[in-house]
């Protein structure tokens, strides 16, 4: 038999039982649609994360801290823990270099290093007109922030110390709808400082219920130079200023609790610095060099393997959920095919009597399962695409109000589209194995005897 004949015959046979074929195929469509949605969501999340990492070229960065004294992202120390504090004092003083401006320059001379800068963040109140927002301000040099994607304006120049870059979600929260309208506007950044002046201490002692900490407010004026599309480094702050400007401000740094107890006037050591290498290939050598100086390093690229494992687990989970529908659909196919064979018992007998071999009979029913799988796969893919488009629109509609830029949460790579159809056909063929074997087993003598 020719392939075209098999296809024509199976379409013809399926068409004869339109309703049943339609319902069975619907099952496959829903199953494949759900699976496709799940997978596209998993891929979309992974694509967004990887893209975001690439966009801020996070893989070019190494975080450096002193052994024991530095904080690793995601881990915090209790400063009351005496053992830990003792260790910090010992190791920081004995082996590690001080993380200060001098050291930054030294690091920049290491082969493969493009730039090194201190990572500083501090809480501040940002005011524009009568609107006020509490947020974290990140210190970034002009050179480092220049490649950032912007909504409007441009990055601050080294010669404009009062330039500030803010995120578009902050722009919205400050009551400006159009990012470009914010350019050039004056904002006020108010920092909190500890005030250990005599007056303040007296006030604390005399009215203890009034004010828990001797905190003072200090305001500085900045002009908005640009609006960033999204905040890099996972969006750790909503505003960026230059190191020079930050240096001139009185503020509480959040990098270490020890800053609270630093004697006034002493130059601050950074608890952590960030080193940017020219390309991810340089990471290993630069890391080694820094570690040989007794420093602790952390590179995002090392987390990539862990991330990949995470993605794999996520894929497996989504796949498992998506497979429920496909499994139910395949049982539907088995049911339909078995019914069809029982109904066509005599027809199978006739086919054999006029010269069909067992293989021909098997192939005829295999093709019928395959056609259900193919049609179900194609329409299932379409359904999955439609449903995810609708979900995407709805989600974006709601989170756009919070200033989050439009994002596609679903990804349909070509291999997913082809794979979904191929998988659907494969599952249908597997579902067709039992009915097909049953059809081939039909004894023509018995089949033709029954009228």
């Amino acid at each position: 038999m020719r392939i075209s004949d098999y296809i024509e015959l199976s379409l013809c046979n399926l068409w004869k039982r339109k309703l049943r074929t339609f319902l069975t195929t619907c099952g496959v469509v829903i199953g494949v649609g759900a699976l496709v949605c799940m997978f596209a969501f998993g891929k979309g999340v992974q694509k967004n994360i990887t893209e975001q990492f690439n966009k801020v070229d996070l893989f070019n960065y190494i975080n450096v801290s002193t052994r024991g004294g530095g904080r690793e992202p995601g881990r915090s120390h209790d400063p009351d823990d005496a053992a830990w504090r003792g260790q910090e004092d010992r190791t920081a003083d004995a082996n590690s270099p001080r993380l200060d401006e001098l050291f930054l320059q030294e690091v920049e001379n290491i082969e493969g290093v493009e730039a090194a800068f201190a990572e500083l963040r501090f809480p501040a109140q940002i005011r524009l007109g009568d609107k006020e927002q509490f947020t974290l301000v990140q210190v970034l040099s002009a050179a480092t922030c220049r490649p950032m994607p912007l909504r409007a304006g441009c990055c601050y120049e080294p010669n404009e110390p009062n330039g500030v870059l803010i995120s578009d979600s902050l722009v919205r929260r400050l009551g400006i709808d159009e990012p470009s309208a914010a350019i050039g506007r004056q904002i006020e950044i108010a920092t909190l400082t500890l005030d250990f002046s005599l007056a303040s201490l007296l006030r604390m002692v005399l009215s203890p219920g009034d004010q828990a900490l001797p905190v003072a407010r200090q305001s500085y004026r900045f002009a908005i130079a640009g609006v960033a599309e999204r905040m890099p480094f996972g969006g750790m702050g909503d505003a960026y200023i230059q190191p020079e400007a930050a240096g001139a401000m009185r503020k509480l740094s959040l990098t270490s609790i020890w800053e609270f107890f630093r004697p006034a006037g002493e130059a601050a050591d950074y608890s952590m610095i960030t080193v940017k290498v020219r390309s991810p290939k340089d990471i290993a050598t630069v890391k080694k060099e820094l570690e040989s100086r007794g420093l602790r390093t952390f590179a995002w690229i090392d987390q990539l393997d862990q991330m990949r494992t995470g993605f794999l687990i996520m894929d497996m989970f989504l796949l498992a959920v998506g497979m429920i529908g496909v499994t139910v659909a395949s049982l539907g196919i088995v049911n339909t095919m078995v019914m069809s064979i029982l109904e066509r018992y005599k027809e199978i007998g006739i086919m054999k009597a006029i010269g069909a071999g067992d293989k021909d009979v098997k192939k005829i029913f295999f093709f019928e399962s395959g056609v259900i799988g193919f049609v179900g796969g194609v329409f299932g893919l379409a359904l999955g695409w439609m449903v995810s488009t609708v979900i995407n629109q709805v989600v974006n509609h709601f989170i756009a109000k919070q200033g989050v830029p439009y994002m596609s949460y679903f990804s349909f790579p070509w291999w997913l589209c082809l794979g979904a159809v191929a998988f659907s056909v494969l599952v249908s063929l597997i579902a067709g194995i039992y009915p097909t074997l049953r059809a081939a087993r039909v004894d023509p003598v018995v089949a033709l005897r029954h009228d």
Binding site: M1, M351, A353, I354, G357, L448
Partner: protein, 232 residues
């Protein structure tokens, strides 16, 4: 027994179990059929006629004994070889027609060619030609339910002829037909036998028809041959 016989059956037995009871359908049957013979097979119900026909048609396998068709040992063929034998060497005609209800006459006749891998255009052309031979071309687009019994049996004969077999096996082809139509159908088989040299083996209850058209007769009773005669 003539060794160059067209169909040669030697010591053929068929035993099957019906529940726990052993049923002997055919018991040491031997006879031969000459090329171009119109052989009638007669016998009461349960005498093993249909079992003999199914074995000759390659649908069933004997418990023991040999069948040779054109010198080829059919009883030793495997399943796929038997399918090819059914497709190319024998054409079967049944009492209950066994047409596919959803197909037109033309599609039913062309159906065996599908398994032979013939292209659709040629399938239809050949089916039309055979339908013309049995005088049913004007009815080619009708489904079996729209055809009379005689017409349906003609479609079955056309289907049996489509692969140009050497042997036609007819299992009570007139069992569901009135006497006038029966005669027409057997006449058609006799014409094919005479004009195209086809060997026809036909089971029938109707002795008058066999006496009129067949030139040989095998009589079965309880799975055994009780008579073998040449009639003309």
């Amino acid at each position: 027994m003539n060794s160059d016989s067209f169909v040669m059956i030697e010591g053929l037995s068929k035993v099957y179990l019906s529940g726990t009871i052993r049923v002997v359908a055919l018991d040491d049957v031997s006879f031969s059929v000459a090329e171009g013979e119109f052989l009638g097979v007669a016998g009461p119900s349960g005498s093993g006629k249909s079992t003999l026909m199914n074995i000759l048609g390659g649908l069933d396998k004997p418990s023991s004994g040999n069948i040779k068709v054109q010198g080829r040992l059919i009883s030793e063929l495997n399943k796929e070889e038997l399918a090819l034998y059914r497709r190319h060497q024998v054409g079967m005609i049944f009492q209950s027609f066994n047409l596919i209800g959803s197909y037109t006459a033309l599609e039913n006749v062309a159906f065996p060619l599908l398994f032979a891998g013939v292209a659709k255009k040629e399938r239809n052309a050949r089916a039309e030609q055979v339908l013309e031979e049995v005088g049913l071309l004007p009815r080619k687009d009708h489904r079996p339910s729209e055809l009379s019994g005689g017409e349906q049996q003609r479609v079955t004969i056309a289907r049996a002829l489509i692969n140009q077999p050497k042997i036609l096996l007819a299992d009570e082809p007139t069992g569901n037909l009135d006497s006038a139509t029966s005669k027409q159908i057997v006449q058609l088989l006799a014409d094919l036998n005479r004009n195209q040299g086809l060997t026809v083996i036909m089971i029938s209850h109707e002795h008058a028809l066999l006496a009129e058209f067949a030139n040989g007769l095998v009589q079965l009773c309880d799975g055994k041959i009780v008579g073998r005669q040449k009639m003309r």
